[in-house]
């Protein structure tokens, strides 16, 4: 598998004869963003429809506990972060479906619990805080080959999942009861979608960190909603804005010497404000 990566890097060498693309870490970062940004933006479209931004934030913050568990168990934190994120995602979805509590109250409880648990474990061990730093802020410049392969697998999984489930997810996003009368298996779609969100969020943490991970999912989709009138346009615009802000953010961070994850998010935010302006100026009708 690593051989495939070498070929990809060789290809990038030839296609991108620019100074910013020369260092190996820049090639890795570019590849990471090209893999994770479209996956996050594609999942983001229904996520915004479901008003699940807070949900993805809770999954992101579950990485505190995920990292701590990984170090406690002596396995790579990437695995425990993904597994614990998936666990929290399913737990929230199940609890939400079985109580009359409002969704944000349920998520709020989980949100605080996973942060508290993570901090409790980390504070009991000296020397863990440094390890946590990289997860808090993320850094696409420090992505390893293994993580790149994991992101490629994730993009493929998200693509296959959305191919088969996207229409049902959107119908569920319009109205749950109505979707049920049209034969949508509501609970199965909810649980599978929350699992996919958990996978995307935990992988995107590598690029932008816990604090900004929700931005990768929410900002491109919200920017697309500002201007799109149909489902197709919304999806393609969201993915396009994610790729554009990923590439331009990476290049800008190279020349401005700023944190890459943060610069990528700022580029996406700029797209949001531009589309919001466009929406405000567009004649009604």
């Amino acid at each position: 598998m690593e051989g495939v990566l070498l070929h990809v890097f060789g290809l990038m060498e030839r296609l991108l004869p620019f100074s910013f693309a020369e260092p190996m870490f820049m090639k890795r970062a570019l590849l990471a963003l090209l893999l994770i940004a479209p996956a996050a933006a594609a999942v983001g479209v229904p996520l915004v429809q479901f008003r699940m931004a807070f949900f993805s934030d809770a999954i992101g913050h579950s990485a505190f506990t995920g990292v701590a568990l990984g170090i406690l168990l002596g396995v790579s934190p990437s695995w425990t972060v993904a597994a614990f994120g998936a666990f929290v995602a399913v737990a929230i979805t199940l609890v939400k479906g079985h109580t009359d509590l409002s969704t944000d109250a349920v998520i709020g409880v989980f949100f605080s619990t996973v942060i508290a648990l993570g901090i409790a474990i980390i504070s009991s061990r000296k020397g863990l805080t440094r390890n946590l730093q990289s997860f808090l802020y993320g850094d696409p410049l420090a992505v390893s080959d293994a993580e790149l392969l994991w992101m490629a697998g994730l993009l493929f999984t998200v693509g296959v999942y959305l191919f088969f489930a996207y229409n049902r997810i959107l119908l569920l996003g319009v109205h749950e009861g109505f979707a049920r009368t049209k034969g949508v298996p509501v609970r199965a779609v909810e649980i599978s979608f929350s699992l996919i969100v958990a996978l995307v969020v935990t992988a995107a943490i590598n690029a932008v960190g816990i604090l900004l991970v929700t931005a990768m999912l929410v900002i491109p989709a919200t920017a697309a909603r500002n201007v799109a009138r149909g489902a197709g346009t919304a999806f393609h615009l969201s993915v396009g804005i994610a790729l554009l802000s990923g590439i331009s953010g990476l290049i800008a961070s190279y020349y401005l010497d700023t944190a890459t994850g943060a610069t990528v998010v700022l580029a996406a935010a700029a797209c949001f404000f531009l589309t919001a302006l466009f929406r405000a100026l567009r004649p009604a009708g």
């Binding site: 959107l170 119908l171 009368t181 489902a231 919304a234």
Partner: protein, 264 residues
């Protein structure tokens, strides 16, 4: 073979629904036959919408709901279409009417475009509902009446055996309601599905229904429209507040206008 056997029928026997310890429906018996319009009337809180939800399998119930399919139509579960009274959704959703039609019919995702079959059937059923021009409009920009027609067109597209309509003319003006009902009976006559119509508007009921079920947690009475809609029955159901008068049969069919619950 008698006429009865040739029709499919949704038969409901001894249906009861309890929610939170409160009995919402008790011992309901009814037959909804294909090719007929059955009106379901009753005061607010009578359990009309709950009965629809039970038929759709969306609330737990005791008793039996069985679909007896005429032999020549083959076996299988009935297709039940449903047009809800209202469908609150996010008006800002980037979704066109065509997208909305594609979501429940197309296998591949809508962001790869729409199949020719989806396009054709959507245009066709929208045309039949008189709203063919709405195909490319964003769903969130439709008026209440337009949206209801789109929902109706979508329900008809899937060739239902039974179509459930919850208050199809609420929030539509009188002329719009008449137009919609005429169109409804036209589609219904050509498509031969069974129509269960929940309505407050007794003029709609008397003009279009073959059979009436009066519901108030249990069946108050049921039967042919002309036999059931007597002032006595309505008084016993609406608590004597129904003011009923008979129109002169100027348009060829005399019909009743009622003002249950003091509303117009």
């Amino acid at each position: 073979m008698s006429a009865e056997e040739r029709l499919h029928t949704l038969s409901i026997r001894n249906l009861s629904v309890r929610r939170g310890g409160v009995e919402i429906l008790a011992g309901v018996d009814a037959d909804i036959r294909c090719g007929e319009v059955t009106a379901l009337i009753g005061p607010n809180g009578a359990g009309k919408t709950t009965l629809l939800q039970a038929i759709l399998g969306q609330v737990p119930y005791t008793g039996e709901i069985r679909f007896c399919r005429a032999r020549e139509h083959g076996e299988g579960v009935p297709r039940i279409g449903y047009v809800p009274q209202q469908l609150p959704f996010d008006r800002d959703t980037p979704l066109s009417v065509l997208d909305f039609f594609a979501l429940s019919q197309q296998r591949y995702p809508v962001f790869f475009g729409h199949s020719r079959r989806v396009r054709r059937s959507a245009q066709d059923s929208l045309d039949r509902a008189g709203v063919g021009h709405l195909l490319h409009r964003p769903l969130g920009r439709l008026s209440g009446g337009e949206f209801q027609r789109v929902l109706f067109a979508l329900a008809v597209r899937d060739a239902p055996d039974i179509l459930l309509l919850d208050e199809p003319v609420s929030g539509v003006d009188v002329a719009g309601a008449e137009q919609f009902c005429d169109f409804l009976s036209q589609v219904q006559r050509s498509s031969k599905f069974g129509l269960l119509l929940v309505s407050h508007d007794l003029s709609v009921v008397t003009r279009h229904a073959d059979q009436v079920i009066c519901l108030n947690r249990r069946i108050v009475c049921r039967g042919a429209t002309t036999e059931v809609l007597t002032p006595e029955n309505l008084a016993s159901m609406y608590g004597g507040e129904a003011h009923l008068f008979r129109h002169a049969p100027a348009d060829g069919h005399g019909h009743l206008h009622g003002l249950p619950e003091g509303k117009g």
